[in-house]
């Protein structure tokens, strides 16, 4: 196999193993990378159906407008806070993409600054979203819109927590492996399995964050603009 894999790096693939040939190691490493790649796409699919359920609820209740109670008096959740959450998440997504691009060019520090900022932004957005729930200006059961909004708040917090977790895990991982991969070109270049798995996960995470930003855009339009 062209990719010579140092023996003990098999650990990054999983638990203790048999004696393996280089071919087998390479094969399983490619499979593991691919599984992380595909897993990220699956996660986007699962997320799409999750948020589609909420969008369906939104449009269904909006269209049926039972007893005229879809959205009396055009009640709207606090728009300033909502715009702030949306802006932060959007900025986070930008930072995530920019960071990932920087990392690909080997600028590890840039990436770390961008992503730690994104992680902090995520926590801020979660705090703001919780704050919104305390000053809604309508009761949770007062209308179809109100109900959907509560559902969105819960889902949005979960979505942002997922993003936060994934980004944080990758940052922590990069720090932990930094010494080991340093001489091999750092996390962005190293051919060590640990670095390759890291990059596969990073790629999936970036993809997921972009998906999250699109979801954020859609529901920001639905709940605050329309």
């Amino acid at each position: 196999m062209a990719d010579e894999i140092p023996a003990a790096d098999t650990r990054a693939l999983g638990p203790v193993r048999l004696m393996e040939t280089q071919e087998e190691l390479a094969y399983e490493l490619r499979a593991a990378e691919g599984a992380v790649f595909t897993g990220g796409r699956f996660l986007v699919g699962i997320g799409a159906f999750t948020f589609a359920s909420l969008a369906f609820a939104y449009f269904y209740l909006r269209t049926s407008n039972n007893l005229g109670l879809w959205r009396p008096h055009h009640a709207t959740a606090p728009t300033n806070y909502g715009a702030a959450v949306f802006a932060i998440v959007l900025a986070d997504a930008m930072l995530t993409i920019i960071g990932a691009v920087r990392l690909r060019r080997g600028m590890v520090l840039d990436w770390q600054v961008a992503w730690w900022t994104a992680v902090g932004g995520n926590l801020l957005a979660i705090a703001l979203q919780i704050l919104i729930l305390t000053r809604l200006g309508f009761d949770s059961g007062s209308s179809g819109y109100a109900s959907c909004y509560i559902g969105w708040a819960v889902l949005n917090i979960l979505l942002m927590l997922t993003t936060f977790y994934w980004l944080e895990v990758l940052l922590a991982r990069a720090m932990r492996i930094s010494r080991a991969v340093a001489e091999d070109g750092g996390p962005s270049q190293s051919r060590l399995p640990a670095a390759r798995m890291f990059r596969a996960s990073l790629d999936s995470a970036t993809y997921f964050v972009v998906f999250g930003a699109l979801i954020e855009l859609l529901f920001w339009l639905l709940f605050y603009v329309l």
């Binding site: 003990a8 048999l18 087998e24 399983e28 159906f49 269904y60 039972n66 209308s143 080991a180």
Partner: protein, 665 residues
Amino acid sequence: MAIRTTATHDLGTPGELPPEGVARARNRSPWLDFHVGTALVGAVAGFVIGHYIGVLIAGHDINVDNNGQNNVAICLSLGFGYLGWMAGIGGWNYPLAKMIGREPVGELPSSHWSRYFKYTLDHKVVGLQYVIGVLLFLFTGGLLAMGIRTELLNPVHHIIGPDRYIELVSEHGTVMMMMATSIVIGPLGNWLTPLMIGSRRMAFPRIEAFSFWTFIGGYMIILTAMPFGGFPTGWTGYAPLQTQASGGMDSYLCGFAVIGLGMITAGFNIAATVIHYRAPGMTWSRIPILTWSLLSTTSLLMFATPVLVMAGLFGILDRTALTAFYVNEHGGSSFLWEDLFWFFGHPEVYIMALPGFGIVGEMLPVFTRKPLFAYRVGAAGMIGVALLSFFVWQHHLFDSGINPDMRPLFMLTTELISIPTGFIYLVGMGTLWRSKIRFEVPMLFALALYFNFLIGGITGVYLSDVPVDVTVHGSFFVLAHFHYTIMGGLVFAFFGGIYYWWPKMTGKMLNKTLAKLHFWIMFIFFNFTFFPLLIVGLLGQPRRVFEYAHNLQGLNDFSSVSAYILGSSFLIFVWNFVWSTWINPVPAPANPWGSRGLEWQTPTPVPYWNFERIPVILSDPYRYGEPDPPPVADLGVPIGAAAAAQSFAAEVQLGLDEPGGSFRG
């Protein structure tokens, strides 16, 4: 075994794991670790904490004061109970370790029996855990069914009473539906998939273990419905009744959400494994038909189940945060639940059909000594069913008052789905042609699936046809129809699969005479139980009633008595299972059915890493009836000391023999 992390060795520098650490881990009692006992402690602790928080939050709410029921406390205690359960089994160790940048090294392969009670990375252990898990579900649901049939012995005289009866009906339906989502994909899917595709492992073994322990968590949550007063809605949980119902409803909603999480993760792991961990040469046209069926099932598990989880979340919010998703008077809609639920619900019934098709597709070639006929058509049929199943859900709502012009459309899509389902019959019928049929026990179950599912499928056509549906919708006809497909199809296939693969899974043959007895009693009395119910339904008996017309007592009693015998047939299975596995085990031949499948090429018991060498696949596994078939796979030769591979420090350290035996089996 718990996930162990050490400071540096996951970086992969040789010699990092101190040998004394391994020795210490090995000499310690295997029970000094996370296992099901600590999980139970965690669950109880979580339950209490959740309840306390719930009382703090909502204990003085006017609604709680008014009806004396704190849904917030119930939901939080169930949620925290689940979190505690997973913490107690060690399910959060890995996700938390990741947050500080660690990748766990995994586990020491263990042959101690305590591994069956732990969060383990070995897909074969998870598969066997699932066998016990789904049987637990199945027999719980079965006992509830006995209660239902007992109440229906008499049209007016109550043995159980309407309130307890409706709890039994709801609990039976929900438990069985939860069981059926995993009955094949859990035990056989997890156990067989890597072996069938020539992989040494699952793609995400921790997610696999997560799915199992979540599944059991869901089981416990749905059982809490009984002490909370049950729930009156049946497994469909229709909305205004759901909003109105007492505390057991929270168990239903939380239970389905948790089970849904288990379904999504189980599907996620298997799909990723099949896509990426196939051995070299295991092309898409060579993977076993069971793998195709599991793959199409996982797509439904992953993409339909989130809708159920969301519907459940909205229900929980309605009951705790007092939103109005399903409350008409406040701008919600009861149709919203029906739509969301059935958008998941109909793909779900194919989650319960497709794996069964895969199992019989696996058995037929073995017991007819012929290749699988029209393999590609069969695989295409399964994918077709999976795709179409997303577009049929409104046939559950034909009489509900939905937009009427939707009805011809959904009648069409529903009937179209019988075309790919028919492919499965084409596969079966073509394989039987000019073959050599051995009536071994698994084959009997496979043939029974074709018999039962034909009735189940044809009665499905009645339900898709709107004019006929006006009569049969919501009646015992529907009930008999889906028991014919799920029990007559999937459960028969599951038992066939257990009889077929048990020698591989445990190295022990199940007793053939007892198995045949089990089969014939189950087959005959399954039909005696449910065929009369088709007629009962046509004669106007609605589902889920405790009183019915006097003239239907004969048929109902016949069905009830048959149901008792059907239920007792499982006692034969349990006896056989216990007798042949533990009391008087008979070692199984290496390949008792003469299969060419890759899973039978491994030694028994299968080593921790399944394959000494990653096999190179040379042909598909169905080349029976050829004078000189090529081998299915090149399994390679074990690497000796002089072989062209290097041996690793890691191997020396961790590959040591366990006290109870070598991890290589």
